[in-house]
């Protein structure tokens, strides 16, 4: 009798806890707020059949993807956007190739070498994929120097940054840095500390690292002799590796005398990072601080972009007085031949919406990008995205994207 009572107590505990935890479920099913209908989102982007897709990859694009998926999913009854895992460009490509993601986000388009190493033996070629530009952003050099105000922007050129990341320049008060910034330091009445530089790099395979190393190789080819790569950079003994852009942002914020490369919108999201933002020497000889206008100026120097080769998609270190030299597009990679019609349709509709900006009465992906600190894709790049998506086929070789929007 006592025994059954005890078991009843135990069982009631379990059931009680379950019910308590299930309360949110009951609450949310009754509490979904109905968002206002949105003309652009409604007309061409609604799904008639239910489908669910998930993506993952580049942390460069993570703030954009998270906001976009939430906005789109809330207004599209049949579409379930089951999340974007911000695991890095390398993991995005791996996930796409092994089928765990429906689209992979990456800051550097897929190359045949990537396909060969990530999915050997599967016989994929570049022609099996379509790569859609979905965002345009820049990479800021954020540093943490106690005592330096946010109005002071230390100037760096590619040679100095390359030397820092190779370990050749070890201390903050190295003559190279000091000489370059003589005037700035005098005006601000601060001195560079005699502390070792901790540089922060990515621990995972990162497209952001690729764009960063591409910049170093393009602007300082005699110092940075290795080809651009997503692979983690070699660290010295005091240096820290962060997982994802957010890991680098956190590491720079918490380690004094550190410097790291982060995507620009992470600067806006972490005000304390804005204490130290570097001004980088661009091709026209000017030192530019990252800003949406500067990134836009850089992208404008190369209107024709294609994911085919590095020379065609790289926009680092381009001429322009106000251009910010460390900028890049970020891409979504999908299989050209989709095997599931509903999923494929949702995929192309979503990516089309994501890569376009709306009209004055509606919001599309690029409007959300702007709110998150990215630069809206130029019109011709939006067209490139549309044309690329028109080549994605479903079962029976049907073109999946049907749209009338401009």
């Amino acid at each position: 009798m006592r025994r059954t009572l005890l078991s009843a107590v135990g069982a009631t505990a379990i059931v009680g806890m379950t019910l308590a935890l299930a309360a949110p479920a009951l609450a949310t099913t009754h509490k979904k707020p109905k968002p206002k209908p949105d003309p652009y989102v409604t007309a061409d982007t609604q799904m008639t059949t239910a489908a669910s897709i998930a993506g993952g990859g580049s942390t460069f694009a993570a703030p954009l993807e998270n906001a976009a998926q939430a906005y789109y999913g809330a207004r599209n009854g049949n579409a379930t956007l089951a999340g974007y895992q911000a695991v890095g460009s390398g993991a995005g490509e791996v996930g796409l190739l092994n089928g765990s993601f429906n689209y992979g986000g990456t800051d550097v388009p897929l190359a045949q070498t990537d396909i060969n190493t990530d999915a050997p033996g599967k016989g994929y070629t570049l022609a099996s994929f379509e790569q859609v530009p979905v965002g345009l952003g820049g990479i800021a050099m954020a540093y943490n120097l106690p005592g330096f105000k946010s109005s002071v922007h230390l100037e760096f050129n590619a040679t100095i940054i390359a030397d820092i990341y190779k370990g050749t320049i070890k201390n903050w008060n190295d003559p190279a840095i000091a000489n370059l910034n003589k005037a700035i330091l005098k005006t601000a009445k601060v001195k560079l500390p005699a502390q070792p530089i901790k540089y922060v790099a990515r621990a995972d395979k990162s497209g952001t690292t690729y764009i960063f190393t591409n910049f170093l190789g393009t602007a300082a080819p005699s110092v940075w002799t290795t080809a651009p790569s997503k692979n983690p950079l070699t660290l010295g003994t005091g240096d820290v590796a962060g997982s994802g852009n957010q890991g680098v942002a956190a590491a720079v914020q918490s380690n004094a005398y550190s410097i790291g490369y982060v995507e620009y919108s992470y600067l806006l999201l972490n005000p304390s990072l804005q204490q130290g933002v570097g001004a980088i020497l661009n091709k026209s000889g000017k030192y530019v601080v990252p800003s949406p206008a500067a990134i836009q100026a850089d992208a404008a120097a190369k209107p024709l972009v294609s994911p085919a080769t590095l020379a065609l998609y790289s926009i680092v270190f381009l001429p322009g007085a106000t251009a910010y030299p460390i900028s890049g597009y970020t891409w979504a990679v999908v299989f050209k031949q989709q095997t599931n019609a509903a999923k494929g349709t949702l995929l192309v509709k979503y990516l089309d919406w994501l890569s376009h900006s709306g009209n004055p009465h509606s919001t599309a992906g690029q409007n959300i990008a702007k709110a998150q600190g990215y630069v809206m894709l130029p019109k011709n790049i939006q067209k490139l995205a549309r044309n690329t998506l028109l080549s994605v086929r479903g079962p029976g070789n049907v073109i999946l994207l049907t749209t009338t929007a401009g």
């Binding site: 890095g88 460009s89 791996v94 621990a203 983690p232 070699t234 240096d239 590796a241 918490s254």
Partner: protein
């Protein structure tokens, strides 16, 4: 009379019953044993599958790199070097820091709770320890990253650097993510475990022994030292084994606070990496050969944990014999 509804035994009262031995009906009880062995067999198959998957995923790496995985000192995915030695060192160092702090403090705490505190306080502290033993590891890591780390970087590490005069083991400039921080976070995680298990072990020492020792004039410490601790030896060794296994395999908490730098840590205040944290951060973006290398790390980690378990069980066996002889 519940349970005796079996017609087989009722229909044919066998001479066995008279001797008190029930007659087992061969065909009906086999269902019982089939279920038991069948379900356990499922579990056994899962365990074998688990072992297989970890080992077989690492085979390509062993084939390609051989023992250089165990002896190499550089772990660099980009250059294709997969030497796990710095990672093994990092794992052992963090576990060593954690255990060096946790074992004496944990045993002392358990002794204090059982023998020094008043009974009301005893229940309170015991419950407190139980609560903390159940806190999930991600919470510890997150607390270490956001609370302990900044405090270490701003106060503790500069003090230690000045204490050691810039020499080993504190000669580097302090970072926030360091081996010391990782070791201390592990210490806080492992401490409630050791305290709880040691307390349980101490409770099994018969009261008569303790009272007997006190009655012949032993001081409190003599009783603890000569009677309680030897008597609880088995449980204490078990506690340390469990704590070591936990310290070696901890993933998420360490990944948050160690800095993920796969080099040998020069000093206790530089970032480093452990086997589990590298597996966790590099797994998802790895090419198949890199996944195999990470599988090799997993095999090494599994071997280390198994070794600790085996050593622990061996010591428990020997300690148990000593106790019975006593």
């Amino acid at each position: 009379m519940a349970g005796v509804t079996d017609t087989a035994t009722q229909a044919a009262p066998s001479p066995d019953l008279a001797e008190g031995r029930p007659r087992r009906s061969a065909k009906s009880d086999s269902v019982y044993w089939i279920t038991l062995y069948g379900v356990s067999g499922i579990f056994a198959v899962i365990c074998i599958g688990f072992l297989l998957s970890v080992v077989s995923s690492s085979l390509p790496a062993w084939e390609k790199y051989g023992t250089s995985i165990l002896t190499g000192t550089v772990w660099n995915q980009s250059t294709g070097q997969y030497g796990a030695l710095p990672l093994i060192a990092g794992t052992l160092e963090t576990a060593a820091i954690a255990l060096t702090l946790a074992v004496p403090i944990g045993i002392g705490t358990a002794l204090a709770i059982v023998f020094v505190l008043h009974s009301r306080l005893r229940t309170f502290f015991s419950s407190l320890v139980e609560v903390l033993a159940a806190v999930p590891s991600v919470v510890y890591g997150f607390w270490g990253l956001l609370v302990l780390g900044p405090w270490f970087a701003s106060s503790v590490e500069p003090w230690l650097v000045s204490l050691f005069g810039g020499h080993f083991p504190f000669q580097d400039a302090p970072s926030t993510e360091t081996i010391l921080l990782a070791g201390c976070v592990l210490f806080v995680m492992v401490l409630p475990l050791i305290v709880a298990l040691t307390r349980d072990a101490i409770a099994t020492v018969p009261n008569e022994l303790v009272e007997g020792a006190l009655s012949v004039g032993a001081t409190r410490w003599q009783v603890l030292h000569k009677v309680v601790l030897p008597g609880a030896r088995v449980g204490i060794v078990g506690a340390i084994t469990l704590a070591s296994a936990r310290a070696l395999g901890e993933t998420v908490a360490i990944a948050l606070v160690i800095g993920l730098n796969p080099n040998f840590a020069h000093s206790l205040d530089s970032p480093a990496a452990t086997l589990a944290s590298i597996i966790a951060t590099e797994f998802q973006d790895s090419t198949p050969i890199q996944v195999a290398a990470l599988g090799a790390l997993a095999v090494i980690l599994m071997a280390m944990t198994l070794l600790v378990n085996l050593i622990g069980r061996q010591m428990i066996r020997r300690a148990a014999i000593k106790v019975t002889v006593l």
